[in-house]
């Protein structure tokens, strides 16, 4: 085999690049693991942040904040995404309207996180939405609350759930629908009883990808959740007062504790970052598991699901 040395160079380059990517990925995980194990103590997970970050105090509040945001985001995103996916694949009349909806979801998917955060502020700082967030005495609406941030998080999670559900619905063979129609079922009943149950794993994949995007987003939290480290409730109605209040999430906690924020405690930042990375890796594994349980026809689809 006599290859020109130009081709040999490309071969070497391709191998180098491929292996380097693995090395970089491994380096990131190993370094975060090393720092995380150095600084992460179980006490940190279960104690609340103190006013003085250099001292004691952990990240229970940011952890709760991340969970609250994820729940709100997914609860809002799933009905929207499922309705759109079902409407577009099963109904979709008139077709120009279907194209408009599909393009809107693609636009939402392509909007940078920071612009979604700005949009959230633009909406929630109007007096129309004042009950949903922190309002100062003089009537200035701050627009920062879990509700505001959660609502914007749902926009982040919407495209993955929509795409996964739509692809799943399109992959259901036509004879399943036809069998249901032959039995006299209406379209909506076949959707409820036949189609949606069969795309359960797609919905789960999409939701997991959405959760992954939500817990990794920092820009929305920084702009829509304020820079308090503890959860501050607003008002006295139990439950809703936390949602209306401000707080932090793991991502904003990492940011505030790094030199870019207040900077006092990089060790806490490393510990929180390690925790966050573990969550993301677990979610990745979950997507893999779900994907493998319902094997796809195209072999490299799992990589495509990342986008």
């Amino acid at each position: 085999m006599s290859w020109r040395w130009g081709d040999r160079l490309v071969l070497v380059a391709a191998w180098t690049v491929g292996i380097s990517l693995c090395v970089i990925a491994a380096a990131i995980v190993l370094y975060m693991g090393y720092r995380g194990i150095e600084y992460l103590r179980p006490g940190l997970i279960f104690s609340r942040p103190s006013a003085d970050q250099a001292g004691s105090g952990g990240f229970l509040d940011p952890l709760l904040g991340t969970i609250i945001l994820t729940v709100i985001g997914i609860v809002l995103a799933i009905p929207l995404a499922l309705s759109s996916a079902v409407w577009i694949t099963e109904y979709g009349r008139p077709s120009w309207l279907a194209r408009v909806v599909e393009s809107s979801i693609e636009i939402v998917a392509g909007t940078p996180d920071i612009v979604i955060a700005i949009f959230g502020l633009a909406i929630f700082q109007t007096s129309l939405f004042a009950p949903f967030s922190f309002t100062a005495e003089g009537g200035g609406v701050y627009g920062n609350s879990f509700i505001a941030a959660g609502a914007m998080m749902s926009l982040l999670a919407l495209p993955p759930i929509y795409t996964a559900t739509r692809d799943g619905l399109q992959a259901v063979p036509g004879h399943q629908r036809e069998a249901a129609f032959a039995l006299g079922k209406t379209r909506i009943t076949t959707i409820r009883r036949v189609l949606l149950p069969s795309v359960r794993s797609n919905i789960a994949t999409g939701a997991t990808l959405g959760i992954s995007r939500i817990i990794g987003s920092t820009a929305i939290v920084l702009l829509l959740l304020g820079s308090t480290l503890r959860i501050e409730a607003q008002g006295s109605f139990p439950g809703i007062n936390v949602l209306r209040g401000t707080g932090s999430s793991l991502t904003s906690y990492i940011y505030e504790n790094s030199p870019a924020g207040e900077g006092g405690a990089p060790q806490k930042a490393y510990a929180a970052a390690f925790l966050l990375l573990i969550f993301v890796l677990l979610l990745n594994l979950l997507v893999d598991r779900i994907g493998r349980a319902h094997a796809d026809s195209s072999g490299l689809a799992p990589i495509g699901a990342v986008v």
């Binding site: 290859w3 491929g18 949009f119 990794g216 490299l300």
Partner: protein, 327 residues
């Protein structure tokens, strides 16, 4: 009434309900543009479109805006934000060009060259890189790479000679471009891999049968065939790159400055600011009339750029459809 709701719904009612919910999303997108544009209007009112050009002292203008809290005079709104646009363009350009090369090479590696065992390791690694949150990239950047650059790569001579213009703290164009490349490459690898594996293998086999070695066959046939996918990947990656805010804010040096190629190697160590990182930097000033309008203006520009890139990506992907076996 409740009886009507409890009986199985007729299709037309379900169709209308689902359609209405779906249109909520479109309404949301329209609302996004309208709300952001209305908040950004004062910037355009006082500057026209020329706020994207250069010429003023950006930091001084921002300070003036921050100081004027109520009913500012018209002169306060004057802004020339070219440094931000330059920063966005140059970081994205470097990241996309580097990333595209790396992505094409890696995709060829993953799909054509790697043995199955290696492939089983590389694919999860790429997926991992894609799912690391940007704040963790920023953390590693600011706690590891920036001190490394500051202590080992920036010479004292460079620091001293540029002292009058700008402080070289390690964070800047180099670190930003490197981390941004690592962040956007996995997206491109995903798209290009998918396209590579959709090209019918008989095309490549035909080239090999005609005497090309396997690598050349890939170059001559497959890569040319997936040109739309490569362009789509580049477009998607550019949209991601210009929108990256938090990571860039953490490692870019915190000063609005246009890196000067004339400074030699120090070009890569000079700080910069991008549109997105400026939004994060000035997020506390969103309630003030002048600075708020400016920041919303940056967001509007980012939004329209993302729109334009989205449309371009869609248009470019259309020819790709004929290669895909599904969807």
């Amino acid at each position: 009434m409740i009886e009507r709701l409890r009986k199985p719904w007729p299709d037309h009612r379900a169709e209308r309900l689902l359609g209405a919910v779906s249109l909520l999303i479109t309404a949301g997108v329209v609302a996004m543009v309208v709300f952001v544009a209305s908040r950004a209007w004062p910037l355009f009112e006082h500057n026209g479109v020329s706020w994207v050009f250069g010429g003023g002292d950006f930091e001084a203008e921002v300070n003036r805006m921050t100081a004027a809290t109520t009913n500012p005079a018209a002169a306060v709104f004057h802004l020339r934000a070219w440094p931000l646009i330059y920063g966005t363009l140059i970081t994205s350009a470097i990241a996309v060009v580097l990333g595209l090369t790396i992505a094409v090479l890696s995709s060829v590696f993953i799909v054509e060259l790697a043995p199955a065992r290696v492939r089983r390791i590389v694919i999860p690694m790429v997926r991992l890189l894609a799912s690391v949150p940007s704040v963790i990239y920023g953390l590693i950047g600011i706690l590891v790479l920036v001190p490394f650059v500051s202590n080992n790569l920036v010479t004292t001579h460079e620091k001293v000679s540029l002292q009058s213009t700008v402080q070289l703290t390690g964070g800047g164009l180099g670190v930003t471009a490197v981390i941004l490349t690592i962040m956007i490459t996995p997206i491109m690898i995903a798209l290009i891999c998918e396209a590579l594996s959709s090209v019918p293998p008989s095309w490549r086999e035909g080239a090999v049968a005609l005497g090309l070695n396997p690598l050349r066959a890939v170059r001559a046939v497959t890569l040319k065939a997936i040109r739309p996918a490569i362009v789509a990947a580049a477009v998607l990656a550019t949209a991601r790159a210009i929108g990256e805010a938090v990571m860039i804010q953490m490692v870019s040096g915190g000063k609005t400055f246009i890196p000067r190629p004339g400074d030699g190697v120090a070009f890569f160590f000079e700080p910069l600011r991008t549109l997105a990182s400026a939004i994060v930097d000035y997020r506390d000033g969103l309630n003030s009339p002048a600075l708020g309008a400016a920041v919303y203006g940056f967001a509007l520009l980012l939004l329209f750029s993302a729109f334009a890139l989205s449309i371009t990506g869609y248009l470019v992907k259309l020819p790709l459809r004929k290669y895909q076996t599904r969807g």
